[in-house]
Symmetry: C2
Subunit: 333 residues, 2 copies
Amino acid sequence: MADAKYDVLGIGNALFDVLVRTDENFLAKHGMTKGSMALIDEARAAAIYQDMGPATEMSGGSAANTIVGIASLGARAAYVGKVKDDQIGRLYAHDIRAAGVSFKTQAAADGPATGCSYILVTPDGERTMNTYLGAAQDLSPADIDPAEIEASRIVYLEGYLWDPKNAKEAFVKAAAIAHGARRQVALTLSDSFCVDRYRDEFLSLMRSGTVDLVFANEAELHSLYQTSDFDTALRQLRNDVGLGVVTRSEKGCMVTSTEVQIAVPAFAVEEVMDTTGAGDLFAAGFLFGLARGLGYETAGRLGGLAAAEVIQHIGARPQTSLKELAGQNGLAV
Amino acid sequence: MADAKYDVLGIGNALFDVLVRTDENFLAKHGMTKGSMALIDEARAAAIYQDMGPATEMSGGSAANTIVGIASLGARAAYVGKVKDDQIGRLYAHDIRAAGVSFKTQAAADGPATGCSYILVTPDGERTMNTYLGAAQDLSPADIDPAEIEASRIVYLEGYLWDPKNAKEAFVKAAAIAHGARRQVALTLSDSFCVDRYRDEFLSLMRSGTVDLVFANEAELHSLYQTSDFDTALRQLRNDVGLGVVTRSEKGCMVTSTEVQIAVPAFAVEEVMDTTGAGDLFAAGFLFGLARGLGYETAGRLGGLAAAEVIQHIGARPQTSLKELAGQNGLAV
């Protein structure tokens, strides 16, 4: 196995976040399911936006947030995702590169605008996302550079990639190249409704060994195995994938495989401001720990630390150096 | 005097804020004067942005921030400012309207992009602004609708309007219409370097009675009268304008005229996160109090309260209802 140029390379839907604080009534009025991600078309995007309050904008996208978190921990990271060459796409490309991430995906010259997600944050800190995929629709296998994949210790993929029409082919291509280079492939299940849309395909990716590591939160895990019993679902996960990591909010996480089962506690949080990016940043900490061979316990702690940072402010990307934060919390990296 | 449709109508440079936390070295490297606003051209904008870290974006513009604050206090408010009909211009128009402000200025169909300000926030919370005027260059007298001006109790103008080439004509046109309708005209001096560029013109606006009320911070006041002695400057201000309001950061403000001189204390602040918008929101509270006839003392307290809210988070627009905040602080409006 050649030396890795990147610790982690992520592939995902490149989305600009438009965040607004709102109340529960707004969700009800627009028929939104709290805590979920719903795909919306241009007309619905316009209707929701028209009715939304003043917003704060910043770059987002699930795997992109994870990759930025990994870079913030001090690792070498790369991202593959599709924006358009428009004003928002240029903001997006700036932000991810300014975070120290290698980002080489060609922006679309025409077609739909850079994708965005309207994120409603309720007073309890929970986020509800409405995503217009836009240019992210057009991520295709041609955007996967074999040399970049081969040069990455871990390739990290989001389940949301099953939504755009050609991205799953890019996903499978990347996974095959990674395994050909004896690299690891990780998948996040992304969202319980996303799991519901693609359950069989996700299980097939796991059972065929296309992915080596799966991240899921409890809702996604229950959706995957269509059971309300956590232990049953966890046992199935362990049989279906090399390594499973289940996040449980303030209860921390479970790392599970046929050889190990470790529960790692969460970090204490003063006030949950906005849960956007919690899962993404958990994955950042965990993947960093894994790529650096720090062991599952430390990886889980790093995940919890990064998630705790991101839920204490608005937006899904860290606002402080996670490397320094880890040092301050006795997790010198 | 007819009934006013709006309590306050503001005219200013419509700018999208691109905010980033940075260190003092960044300012030094790029030759920036901390705490000031510098005008930059497209090439310098590109150079600064290229070197900036990941940013958070939100709508800004000095008078626009003030007007949004006034709406947040529960008043009827309108804004005149020029964006382009581009992605960022559409975000801008959405945000100000979603804040409850009437915004009817026609977006430019071509010409430069919507203007933006790169705002560097240092660890001490101080902001340093670099403004690319873009479409704001093209605000002109044609954008001033006499009926709207006549229907506004107070017309509020920013000194920054002296920078774009035709905006000062729009400013003077609006002031003349307002006085013709027996309305009040207020001006903020905006920035000490801006005062330095247009000192004679600002003094002439004051001495000719084109403006009735002037907002200045200490640096702007000292720059206006080219003296380091506060009392000397204050005395001159009082002679030059009907009402002068001088903000002094944590020392509160001074309201001065030939009849009154009132010092109003500031509100206590736990931690200064980002001073962007402090002066703008002070003006919001003060103008609200003035428009509603609450007296200078209460107006000054409302100004201090609104400023205190905005400096405790990133960004120049309130993140909570100022009306509710005022109520909680015994300033029921």
